[in-house]
């Protein structure tokens, strides 16, 4: 009885403390689960001792191994499967975000490059970009969406860089430092030079 109460309190405390610390449901569940499995092994051992005959002890022990092993297997499958589903949803979200941003920024990049190619010699690509976007930093008011997030433009004579940083969509690298100092968010840069336009999925 004492062990039951002690282990119950320990399991509940472990779950709450781990969850409060990590805010990760699976770390908390697995942490509490380790206590539960250790307790179950102890129970299985004691149940085996209740029986007097050898074949009964062996059967009980084998059954215990099967049950606890099966529980662990199913537990791990559920853990890995839901973590995988979580990751997949983030990937799908990132792909949507990347496609949306590239599609959004492709038009001003192409327009700038096309206009530059048709301009008289001596015209810089920065001048062309400023002429096409007289309001300064382009796009912020016109095409920015809830998903796209802020767009930063950097213009020099030889290069125009437009950088889109996601509001909440995560990128490949969780420790990547974004343009505005946040971490791990998706970020795409489109660069227009006299040679053409290219993009780089930075995170």
């Amino acid at each position: 009885m004492r062990w039951t109460i002690f282990c119950t309190l320990l399991l509940i405390t472990a779950f709450i403390v781990i969850y409060r610390t990590t805010t990760d449901i699976w770390i908390a569940t697995n942490g509490a689960g380790i206590i539960a499995v250790i307790f179950l092994i102890g129970v299985a051992f004691r149940v085996t001792r209740i029986f007097d005959r050898r074949w009964q002890k062996i059967t009980t022990a084998l059954l215990s191994v099967l049950l606890i092993g099966g529980l662990l297997s199913h537990w791990i499958i559920m853990w890995k499967m839901t973590e995988w589903q979580y990751t997949q949803l983030q990937v799908i979200r990132r792909v949507i975000y990347n496609g949306e941003v590239i599609s959004t920024l492709r038009t001003p990049a192409d327009d700038t490059f096309r206009e530059f190619r048709g301009s008289p010699p001596g015209t810089t690509i920065g001048e062309v970009f400023r002429r096409l976007n007289p309001g300064g930093v382009p796009l912020v008011d016109s095409v920015v969406t809830e998903d796209t997030g802020p767009i930063f433009a950097s213009v020099s004579d030889s290069t125009v860089e437009m950088m889109a940083e996601a509001r909440y969509v995560t990128g490949f690298d969780p420790v990547f430092v974004n343009h505005d100092g946040r971490h791990g968010l998706a970020q795409i840069q489109i660069r227009v030079t006299p040679e053409g336009a290219s993009y780089d999925i930075q995170n």
Partner: protein
């Protein structure tokens, strides 16, 4: 031993009924198993369901789901978090009723239930050996039956569900890989189309072509500078890869640009030869003329 003698024995000492109840629970589990994998709620299932009158609570879906569902509920919370994160509404660290359910069912299923079962078995043995009246037989019977019920559900159902869950997960991964390859090919077209458009725009200011690199034309080296080295594409992890470009000047006003990704495409290695000599990889093609760009997925 005749049935009547056995009945008298049970009447005299209800502890003997523990094994009957546990045996019926086992039968119930087998019925559930049979239903899950074979019958899928056919009329035979309903027959079984009503044929075991001592176990109505056994079939109360919510109760038995709670007993073996602690970590499954944790998985449900995780998937819920994924959906919230998808729409940017995930707030971590908030304690919800679902969390309480997980921790309570975990304690109930893996500590309290097995303890009760163990206590019942030990008390039964002690009572038989010492022939004392306490604890009462009915009390021991209840403890063992309830503990056994919890143990059966908390431990046996996961064992029986292992194979099914494993198959489901593997199938999901396979389907996802196929989708990722298909999406990757579509994304490659987008990437390639972006680059092809740059190529098309280059001579536009000069009245179209030539791309052959002759006097007034654009050299291959100049065209190559348009094509960036993509370290990261639109690929999903597991099938993410870089794309290799091959540029060919077909005529003075016609270019062909191939993009070959380093992941397997629809056709396998023996069925498809890539432009760069590899086999079976995703390959997309863009034909570029001064007038337009045409794109196609070749594998």
């Amino acid at each position: 031993m005749t049935f009547r003698t056995r009945l008298r024995e049970i009447w005299g000492n209800p502890l003997h009924a523990v094994w009957i109840i546990l045996a019926m629970l086992e039968i119930g589990v087998l019925v559930v198993c049979y239903d899950r994998f074979v019958l899928h709620n056919t009329s035979l299932w309903r027959l079984f369901r009503w044929a075991i009158p001592p176990l109505p609570v056994f079939f109360m879906q919510d109760i038995h789901r709670i007993l073996w569902g602690s970590y499954i509920d944790a998985g449900g919370i995780r998937v819920g978090e994924a959906i919230s994160a998808f729409s940017g509404k995930l707030v971590r660290g908030i304690w919800k009723p679902e969390h309480t359910l997980v921790v309570i069912t975990m304690a109930l299923s893996y500590i309290v239930g097995p303890s009760l079962f163990l206590w019942g078995l030990k008390a039964r043995k002690a009572r038989i050996q010492t022939k004392t009246a306490k604890p009462s037989a009915v009390f021991i019977l209840l403890a063992t039956a309830i503990g056994g019920y919890i143990v059966v559900f908390a431990l046996m159902i996961p064992v029986l569900s292992c194979a099914g869950s494993w198959n489901t997960w593997q199938r999901m991964k396979t389907d996802s890989y196929v989708n990722a390859v298909r999406d990757g090919a579509v994304a490659s077209v987008s990437v390639l189309g972006f680059q092809a458009e740059q190529l098309r725009l280059m001579p536009e200011a000069k009245g179209g072509g030539p791309w052959s690199g002759g006097p007034g034309g654009i050299s291959i080296a100049e065209l190559d500078r348009v094509l960036p080295s993509l370290e990261r594409g639109l690929w999903a992890p597991g099938v993410k890869g870089s794309m290799k470009y091959i540029l060919e000047v077909s005529s003075s006003d016609s270019l062909t640009l191939w993009g070959i990704a380093d992941v397997q495409g629809t056709l396998s290695g023996s069925s498809f030869r890539n432009k760069d000599g590899t086999a079976g990889n995703v390959q997309v093609r863009a034909g570029v003329t001064p007038a337009r760009v045409t794109e196609a997925v070749e594998n």
